[in-house]
């Protein structure tokens, strides 16, 4: 406690200068998908390495086949943490929808809040700097960090992270820590911090049903020839039963029930099917009956049809029986579901339902297992307490319906669990014009990391 209070005071006192530093980083146009900005990506990496060196990190810019990584280390007592963030940003099109230049950051008033504006303010430059500034304050006050800290910043997160896995594999020994801290996620709301303890995995597959060897006239052949759209519709319709449960044999293998106290904490968030779905014009949960909407998106696996096409799809009408029809299907996975087994089970399910004269062809579209942190993890509970100290409301341990591959990569490639803590808000307009980051997220985010590091270091 005596160690923490002056660090928090230092953060408060230096908010303006921390903001100036963030502005310096935000001015760099590090758009990773556009080769025209490659030099700016490198500049951002160098800016970060320089800044980390100024706090006493041993920092280096490491080349990859794409944009460089920044790797930095700082010695310390106690556990070893690896912090991850990304310095690259999304493109800014359409530029005409921005109120100001996306790379001229500013602090503005918005609906009674002070917000930092600019591309990357929230995703992820503002977020990653909360951690850097917490380290800076701790170092300024105590001349050391509370524990051993390594940092990994990548520059390709917005373009699919093609260099990340090879880099982790090649540098596993250097990067492996006791656990990882990832700052690229949202708070539940502006008063309620959150830790993402579950991330759904994903299996993507594409099935094409082949029937006749050419398109047929539906008058000549209709009623006799197999129609691949009909075959496909029947198969897809069979995948869910009337309660919304997936019927593929073995699908729920490895799925665990969420502890009831966690479910209770989710219920207490006050999110209902009406509130969650109402925003997008819907009202009735389509998943398994008898489960809350948050449980459905955070802790239950799904089968979704992401695209379907077959026959004539232009304007007007064509009386054709198509030779083929196809669907893109994805499965969100939870807990210990095995992506390879799920893919095989789906394909077997399709093959079993094929008429004798139809064929199915499959194309895989990637897979990643789910990530699930144990609710018993001591790091998790320390972080939860630290966040609850800083913010008006208790931190919630939530899951995320989407898939964030980095957490799974750390688990698989480095044998390291991840704590996902972020201070972004759902209205930050990331990936869109007029991206912003609340000044309170930036300020209390720094204080949050100081508290988390302090708690983690405590014996």
């Amino acid at each position: 406690m005596t160690a923490l209070a002056p660090v928090l005071a230092n953060i408060d006192a230096n908010l303006d200068s921390s903001l100036e530093r963030l502005f310096g980083l935000l001015r760099i146009r590090s758009i990773s998908t556009d080769p025209a900005y490659a030099a700016e990506c490198r500049s951002a990496a160098e800016w970060l390495a320089d800044d980390l060196r100024s706090i006493g990190f041993e920092a280096s810019v490491r080349d990859t086949p794409g944009h460089p990584m920044v790797v930095a280390h700082h010695d310390g007592e106690g556990p070893h943490v690896l912090f991850y963030g990304h310095y690259d940003v999304q493109p800014v099109d359409p530029l005409e929808l921005w109120s100001d230049d996306p790379f001229s950051p500013a602090v503005k008033d918005e609906k009674g809040h002070k917000v930092i504006t600019g591309r990357g303010a929230s995703d992820d430059k503002g977020q990653l700097m909360t951690f850097v500034e917490a380290c800076r304050a701790y170092k300024a006050v105590h001349g050391r960090l509370p524990c051993k800290v390594s940092i990994l910043f990548e520059g390709e997160e917005e373009s699919g992270s093609p260099s990340l896995r090879p880099f982790l594999q090649a540098n596993a020994e250097e990067l492996k820590a006791d656990f990882a801290l990832i700052c690229d996620t949202d708070m539940w709301d502006e008063a309620t911090p959150s830790i993402s303890v579950g991330l759904r995995g994903l299996v993507g597959d594409e099935v094409t049903i082949h029937a006749a060897n050419r398109d047929l006239h539906s008058g000549m052949y209709g009623g006799a020839a197999a129609n691949p759209i009909r075959v496909l519709a029947k198969i897809l319709a069979d995948i869910h039963d009337e309660t919304g449960r997936v019927t593929i044999p073995g699908f729920y293998e490895g799925v665990e029930e969420t502890p009831s106290q966690i479910k209770k904490s989710w219920d207490s968030l006050g999110e209902t099917a009406e509130s969650f779905l109402g925003e997008v014009g819907l009202s009735v949960p389509s998943g398994e009956k008898g489960r809350s909407v948050l449980e459905l998106i955070w802790a239950r696996p799904t089968a979704e049809f992401n695209g379907i096409t077959g026959g004539y799809t232009g304007k007007g009408f064509k009386t054709v029986i198509a030779a083929q029809a196809s669907a893109k299907v994805s499965f969100r996975l939870v807990h210990k579901q095995n992506p390879d087994k799920i893919r095989e089970a789906f394909r077997a399910f399709v093959r079993e339902r094929l008429p004798a004269d139809c064929k199915a062809e499959f194309e895989p579209h990637g897979s990643s297992p789910a990530f699930q942190l144990s609710y018993e993890s001591p790091f998790l509970n320390k972080a939860k307490d630290a966040l609850s100290d800083e913010w008006p409301k208790q931190a919630v341990m939530l899951a995320s319906g989407g898939s964030i591959p980095i957490a799974g990569d750390f688990q698989r490639l480095l044998g390291m669990e991840s704590l996902l803590v972020g201070f972004a808000l759902s209205d930050d307009r990331i990936h869109s014009p007029n991206e912003k980051y609340n000044l309170s997220s930036f300020h209390k985010g720094q204080r949050s990391w100081a508290r988390i590091l302090d708690r983690i270091a405590a014996r």
Copy 2:
């Protein structure tokens, strides 16, 4: 008999000159869909009117908003028949696949048969000239026609006949006859003449299922939000039961059982599921179980899905839950099924299966009732006997799986039944490069019409 024999002899004696006349017509590039050939369409109409006048018809070229009609009348005793054909032809692309200029007709050898080559040789100039030449021969021999004959040639059949219905309505009194003769169909095979007594009708409809008010991320919303592709697949899958029967309530209202002697005659044609479907790489009839493949395509109604689209359909994968998905659906109708009722029943079927928060939108794509000539019709049986006299095998009364609107239009607008008799063969390559018409079709087709007119005129 005494009246007919010299007519047949005249036809035989004048085959070469009839061929010369057909060549004259085939040289005219009357492609109706391409405005560049509008003048050639008119030339074809005028060529026909001139030729009919040379036989003693009162013939005129009538303007329409599109290409002109040819209307001609010739007095005679006994029943009054209206003969229909079309002088327009399909485009000739891809030109490089033609062995010869499509508008330089010739007689060639092909697999042991003499064939007339050129665009329109079969569809429909060669066919319509069989009737004109039969009239010419009868007139040459007897100085009269065996009955009262009117003729209607249109020039827009290959481009959807936009002017036909208004023309029939405006000229109903002039065109109405005791029955119509239509020459635009195939023989069963080269030895077996056929009369099409049934033509399936058609209802086309398009359904779009709307779910969320925008595309959703399948990670964020998957398992909670309604997926319109899933909703659509379920509805389409429900339309057929396990026996291939359509489950829409009231769908089979107006469907009659085909007389058993007709079914027997179809069975005797030797067509099997294997032979019919094998040609297109299939083997298992997809329609109602327990019915022959010919019955399925000729005398049973269908529900077919002609197109489906929703979500991401490009290369690769996108984890999207679409806001909407749609399908083009068609129903082939038989006998007395009511197109309007079928459309409404389908739409009610869809609406009943919608989740509470989804909406369905419909777009109609045309409809026409089925055409079914009574198997007891005296004209039908006279034509059947006449054809059986001419060809090696007995004529068969078959149905056609496709929809030929002209027969329905004659029935509805002129209150007149149609006899569909044609001498084309399934390998005539109509609508394709190297179209041909067997010389025997042209020659025996003329003889067939002479026999039919003779039988019809007989008291």
